[in-house]
Each structure stands twice: as structure tokens, then as C-alpha cells.
């Protein structure tokens, strides 16, 4: 049992629960951010093989560079998803005047009739 990994996975679970349970769209996006941060945390933990940054000029006690190189992709994709979904939330709240999911569904169904 790896305690550090367990704790970072717990943060991941908090993010999943926020995304699934909360009704407000903005709170859901915050939960998505918590989830992504926990993924970053677990990758950093996996790559922790030494206290020094991954530079060639430093001695051999560096961190593993591969997880850090992959997590850059994750951070940029997370930023892109956050920006795009915020625009969708702004558009929806502009049209239906709410960010609550259940009220949104009701108003969209009312519009379709």
C-alpha cells in the first residue's frame, strides 16, 4: 500500500464526486480542476526519484523527467477544456438565465415544446 498515491487518489475521488453530484455547472468545472490537479500530483509522485530538477548539468539525484514531460500535455489540455467549457456556460446562462443543471434541462424541454 502506497500512502502518497492513496492520498492523491483520494483528491481525485473528491473531484469525481464533485463532478457527479453537484448541480451547478461552475462548481462542476471546479471539480474538474480538482481532478486534473490530483492527476498531476500522482504523476509527480510516480516520478519522484530524487530531490533535484531534471537538468543534465546537475548530479544524478534528479526526478524522472518522463512524467513531467507528459504532465505538460495534461495541463495544457486542461486549460483548453476549461476555457472552452466556460464559454459554453456563459452562453447557456445568457440564454436560460441559470447554471443549475436540473433547471437547465427543464427550461430546454419547455423550449422544445
Amino acid at each position: 500500500m502506497n500512502l502518497n498515491l492513496l492520498l492523491s487518489l483520494m483528491v481525485m475521488a473528491i473531484g469525481i464526486v464533485i463532478v457527479l453530484v453537484k448541480r451547478d455547472l461552475l462548481v462542476k468545472l471546479i471539480g474538474l480542476g480538482v481532478l486534473e490537479t490530483a492527476v498531476t500530483l500522482s504523476f509527480v509522485l510516480v516520478g519522484y526519484t530524487g530531490p533535484l530538477p531534471p537538468l543534465l548539468t546537475l548530479p544524478i539525484e534528479r526526478v524522472d523527467p518522463l512524467p513531467q514531460a507528459m504532465i505538460i500535455t495534461s495541463i495544457v489540455v486542461g486549460f483548453a477544456v476549461l476555457a472552452l467549457s466556460l464559454v459554453f456556460v456563459i452562453y447557456l446562462s445568457n440564454v436560460y438565465h441559470t447554471t443549475d443543471v436540473i433547471k437547465l434541462i427543464k427550461r430546454i424541454k419547455k423550449d422544445e415544446r
Partner: protein, 227 residues
């Protein structure tokens, strides 16, 4: 709603416990990438060597995703009415300090992006730092001036051009072994012109992230009070 929350909590806790109890971290060969970087790439920052050389296509599609997101943001935000503006602080001293801080942040981001292959940092973090410099400048100068400057440039067009720089680099790298051939401009570790195309790629991708962050901030700050 309560049922869903209980089920979600139990399922995620079960997943966590199984993953955490079956995972074992064996010390693997972490010297593989440092050795490859020293022999074939030549940049001091191993992370930069991985994402600009060994995994270039990863970066290419990452840049593509960023472009798609910015295009989507500027396309869909055209459908939302413009409202609100960022007010400027009245004190001239605070405004002066904000202008100074903004320019300093801008230059620091450029430096971080250009020397990304020599020290911790890189294109994406440098571009993000520069874009936050633009946010500080907006707080100092007000939205009207910054928006007037922004509307002179076609930001989405400029940042989409960088995509073609990366694609062209990837194509030329594969023609006759081009940039990927052994010994091509590897340079000495620690020099500015080392790490193959690191300088070109770092500066162009950093510029793209800077312009993209600026464009996103521009679109959001124009519709500040529409939520």
C-alpha cells in the same frame, strides 16, 4: 440525488483502494532519457528534450488542441452580448507600479520561453507568464486601451500560423532523416544554440501560448458581466 452521491462515493473509493493496493513502484531505469538527451539532443533540460524531440508529435497535437480551444472560444463568445469593463485604479502610483510589473512579467515570460532548453521552464510556462503580464497591464491601463491594441492584431490568425511552423519542422525532420539524423546541430550542453530546433520551437510555441492566452482573456474580459 442522495443515492447518486452515495453510489459515486463508494465506487470511487473502491477504485482507489484497489489501484493503490495493487500498485508497486519498482525503481526503473531513470537513466535512459538523460543518456539519450546527452547523445542525441544536447539540451540541458531533459524535459524539454523529451517534449521537443523524442515526443514531438505529442507536442504537435497538444498545440492543435490549444488552437481548437481558442478558435472555439472566439467563435462561441461572438454569440454572447458584450457587457462590463475592468475599472482602473485611481492612484497614479499604483498604476505606474502595475505598468512596471506588467512589462517585467512580459519580459520574464519571453526569457523563460527562449531559454527553456537550458533551465527549468519552457514554451508553455513562458507563454502563460507573458499572458498574465497582459492581464496586469489591463488592470493598469483599463480595458479600452488594451482592447484597442488587441483589435489591431488578428490574434487567432497569428496564433494559428505557429501550428504550421511546428508541422513544417516535423516534416523537415523526417525528410532524409533531417533534423532527427544523428549529430544534427546537437551543440554543447548549456549553450544557447543547442538541442536541435529547441530555440525555434520554444520561441514559436511560447509566442503561440502567449497570443492564445491573450485572446482568451480578451474575449472573457469583454463579457465580464454576462453570467
Amino acid at each position: 440525488m442522495r443515492k447518486v452521491s452515495i453510489i459515486a462515493t463508494i465506487v470511487s473509493l473502491a477504485i482507489i483502494l484497489t489501484v493503490a493496493s495493487f500498485t508497486k513502484f519498482t525503481p526503473h531505469n531513470a537513466n535512459h532519457y538523460p543518456l539519450a538527451t546527452e547523445l542525441y539532443d544536447g539540451s540541458a533540460n531533459i524535459v524539454s528534450a523529451i517534449y521537443l524531440d523524442f515526443r514531438l508529435y505529442d507536442t504537435l497535437f497538444e498545440v492543435l488542441i490549444f488552437s481548437v480551444a481558442i478558435t472555439g472560444v472566439s467563435f462561441y463568445s461572438k454569440r454572447v452580448k458584450e457587457s462590463g469593463s475592468i475599472s482602473v485604479d485611481k492612484s497614479p502610483l499604483i498604476r505606474f507600479e502595475l505598468i512596471l510589473l506588467g512589462f517585467l512579467t512580459l519580459v520574464w515570460g519571453i526569457y523563460t520561453a527562449i531559454t527553456g532548453h537550458l533551465q527549468p521552464g519552457g514554451a508553455f510556462s513562458g507563454g502563460a507568464i507573458s499572458a498574465s503580464g497582459i492581464i496586469v497591464l489591463t488592470m493598469a491601463l483599463g480595458t479600452e486601451k488594451i482592447h484597442a491594441i488587441t483589435e489591431q492584431f488578428e490574434l487567432e490568425w497569428i496564433e494559428n500560423l505557429v501550428l504550421f511552423v511546428v508541422v513544417a519542422y516535423a516534416i523537415f525532420a523526417n525528410v532524409n532523416g533531417g533534423f532527427f539524423s544523428p549529430g544534427f546541430r546537437v551543440g554543447k550542453v548549456g549553450q544557447l544554440f543547442s538541442g536541435r530546433g529547441a530555440l525555434l520551437l520554444n520561441s514559436s510555441i511560447g509566442f503561440k501560448v502567449f497570443v492564445g492566452g491573450w485572446a482568451i482573456f480578451y474575449e472573457f474580459s469583454k463579457r465580464k458581466e454576462s453570467v
